[in-house]
Point group: D2
Chain length 333, copies 4
């Protein structure tokens, strides 16, 4: 493993530590690796060492390169300085992706507490978005962020259609960053149809990091530390994993349906298709069925895709193709 | 294991299956057992066998007695019939607790989908509340429940201060019961300071039950089936577990703080205490500190307890006791 | 779930409890299930309830039917009575396989302590062999079995080429059945090239069963209870698992190589092939290579197959086929 | 984390990489850390990078310092050069324990394949023994080691009473180092009453290292990678773990009984005590009981301690103390 250290901004004391792993050779078909960019917490007043190296280790074990960004703090943290620091770091990583053997579209950001706020902002409002975001007991809402960095925005309100898949974890008994922060963010993700996974553990103080005993996990429930392995498993699902043939495709798409694709298609939800006059005419037979003896309650229309509905109804592959062809002729607006 | 079968309501075809385990003898110090009451799903139109026995097995393995309630369905399900069925079952179980070797205050209800709605109603509005509730991809909101049982209420709106601790799990890609149902319920629990744990998995269709391969888990992420062991671990935390001395005390209290105790105390939050004139006078020194150079941001006041605050400030045990004595003289209103 | 109870031998008080799960219907493509036959321990003096139902539950959860055999004990246990009891039970199960929806070649036996001895005898010397055997802290050696049932044989000495794959677990600190029993059995399995998996935990008293807290696991290391899930995962590997298409093929063959197949083939080990004059002549080029600059040390010859060796050497698929054709013309003696 | 690199022997190209973690400060009560010394495999011909950094990461995450020794190879590996390299490394680590914040009696050695042979030799015949040893698919027997390094000894034959607790894992289908190597070592440990834990997985090729996907785990059973977390859990048991008060005591003693203590005591086995004339006279009442209607079969005498036996018999604490006092007056020879 090679360790590199870069000063990104001398005046603001911003720096990036890189742990770069070898490729090829004994690592056979692994010629590129995905990467994580870690943003430690500390209320925008310090960057906690508890949320730096100890977080890098499990992702290194899983085959990722790891970067740790120590961003603008205290007086230097006036917004958007920390977000600019993130963008500078992410640009640097993507620009060096060939040299450092990084797959540039498989880079996840991981942030804790205030670093979780910064990671959420990276996922929702940065110019150089990450491909996935892991948020640990994040500061999210305007009310909470105001106590740490009054100039910083509410991250839940910034969720948009380009927000990357998010993995959010917290403890319900967090006494510094109330769990409602995480709930607000999840609710915003759900409203924008952004892929997410979430684990809220019943008990545990703020700042547990990986939950390893050596980081003092007193007072936390024993399930807490599972977030680490779960987040790696989830990254494999959304970014793709490793195999003896190199990197594999993601197991699941980020989109829950086809509603945001360039044209309409079978994977759009029924509700979405029926709101489009052209598609509605094309699917007139369906809306009839839906009013009649459909097995799907109307609430389900919101989330069920046309493909699911027609498959349940026993429509064959050939006819599905024919419908898809006609749908794909309709631009998605 | 002894299997019993009770018809609770012949007309409405309501029945209760009981799997009762032996106590004492080779089971040594186990003279009483906790129990689970399982409410299978099925849109209030059927009770799924996939969510009955296969759910009972892991809790039986963990040492619990298991009950399965098949409640009123279809035309018979007009509200509040299913809730009455639950209450009848829970009354019967508690009344037989001595005969069946059940610890009557360690009974959890477990419901899935529509059964999750019923379990949520049991937790929030029944006369005979369970001690914990496990809700799997539950129907919660008025909008969704309306599609299955128009007469049934929104369970999130019913959360009250007596609601038991809840464990909520779901998949984000559920295409029959949108994940917003779970998010609404969690948000309501949080607002009422009810203890909870929650796991929302990124991918999986509706109705996965335990996620065992034999129940066809096609399309789900590999993390899904962890909810089973996690829920048992959580039950041990909130209800207590087993030891060579018999049942143990709960590891964590249901309450996040002392705000709902009979008198004020050190475990009340600062915000709560300051809202009480008597306590506010008593703690005048504290509000001063809080306005000054307190290490706690104002948002934290909402969740930080006085004990935590004073301990961080280095106040000794003796002085803490003195303050507690004076606080406990103030009735909680 | 249907519970059945059969008296197999009234005089010797032998009986079989069956927990049979439904197939088809809501269980979709599951039209047959694998099964486990549980043999509780108790020194051939009793059958422990701790090692009966609590063991059935996890396999039931995993989709298996479960049977519990209470075999001949005490004065009635004179050998081979217990083995005859097993054979009677297994015959009954296989004969009813159609009626009970059992896949008759996917039946595992699970035994503990003295029941582990009986399970090991079932695996090695019965007329109606199981398809897999799980042995928990088993009595194996003549020295130990002599203390419990002087008429019973040493199970390690009975291992033969038809012995089924075995999963063996124990604790090193077992103070009733010394761990050397398990080591003897593993050594015998290895010598006969029988597939096995083994977990010996550092600490734990005798008779821990599943290791659940409700069975009093005082004094055991926390890793112990993993044997349950591991054994189910292993059964899926050696017997096959479940999918949305019904039962799946085993993931791994029981044989480590082709040495016991009807004819010679590429999956025979080099050592085995070179001991056959015909094959030796055919492979003369190989033995030369082996004496020369082969990358494989001579110890490896014992376990490396010809296919592996030639693949490493870069021999193409076509040439491999040609060699296999000629090898398959040679009968295995 | 600080990375250091030391050339231990320039001529033989022996070097030591150190990954040292900070103590105190944000790491609170952690003022010293345990350490692991990693010995990669490679048939004494190379040191595999697959078994170096990727192995260090999980122990770093768990709070350990990590060292990687690249020892004498090829022509330089003539025995005992590699063992001398180990001893030089271990001496250096223990000598710097204060400077590097290492608890000098909590250092485990971890070796793979040929490195597993070296680790086994460190555990059994070195002058500067480790406190625990983790052996991955180790070369052990004279027959196998001969193929890699003819001058090197059989490690199983070297097991002695001072051998440290060992954790041994392997796969049964290893086609380069036959699993009998591990079985031989376990048998030797058992004969010498040395504490151990062992996991032999059913399927997996040689050289799987941590079993992470990025290291190409094709062909291994899914249970394989559990050895990593299990070994850390085991280290916590035998060396002690972490808490908010610093390092904790070991959970389990290395000795299975008191047979190797300086004087006799209640934790000696009955068999051992009866072989001592003085103790035999003292315990004459016991040997009588043992011949009579004792609940313990004679095989158990070998492993049951006097304390267990008397406790089962209902002897009170006071009387136990009296017997212990008299036993402790007898020197253990």
């Amino acid at each position: 493993m090679e360790t590199k250290f870069f000063v990104l901004n001398e005046e603001r004391n911003v720096n990036l530590t890189a742990y770069l792993q070898p490729v090829g050779g004994e690592f056979r078909s692994i010629l590129q690796r995905p990467a994580v960019l870690i943003l430690p917490g500390g209320g925008y007043h310090f960057c906690s060492d508890r949320e730096a190296d100890p977080v890098a280790f499990p992702y290194l074990k899983a085959g990722y390169h790891a970067f740790i960004l120590r961003y603008s703090l205290g007086d230097q943290a006036v917004w958007p300085n920390p977000l600019r620091d993130y963008e500078q770091a992410m640009s640097m990583i993507r620009e060096h992706s060939e040299e450092w053997h990084i797959e540039p579209q498989r880079i996840a950001v991981i942030g804790f507490s205030a670093g979780g706020h910064l990671a959420a902002c990276a996922a929702t409002m940065s110019k150089n978005r990450p491909n996935a975001a892991i948020l640990g007991y994040p500061v999210i809402t305007g009310e909470t962020v105001h106590d740490y960095l009054p100039s910083a925005p509410d991250a839940a309100k910034a969720v948009d259609s380009k927000t990357c898949p998010c993995f959010v974890f917290a403890t319900r008994t967090d006494n510094l960053v109330p769990v409602e922060n995480s709930l607000h963010f999840l609710t915003a993700l759900e409203k924008h149809d952004i892929a997410f996974e979430s684990h809220i553990y019943s008990n545990g103080p703020h700042g547990l990091s990986t939950g390893d005993e050596s980081l003092d996990a007193t007072g936390s429930c024993c399930r807490y530390s599972a977030w680490v392995a779960d987040s790696i498993s989830w990254l494999n699902d959304v970014l793709g994993g490793f195999s003896d043939q190199g990197l594999t495709d993601p197991r699941f798409g980020a989109a829950i349906n086809g509603n945001r694709d360039k044209t309409l298609n079978l994977d759009c939800t029924i509700q979405y298709l029926l709101a489009n006059p052209e598609a509605c005419a094309l699917l007139s037979f369906l809306s009839q069925t839906q009013d009649g003896d459909t097995p799907f309650p109307s609430a389900a229309k919101k989330v069920i895709t046309l493909r699911e509905c027609l498959s349940f109804a026993g429509i064959g592959e050939e006819e599905l193709q024919a419908i898809e062809t006609r749908l794909k002729a309709i631009k998605n607006s």
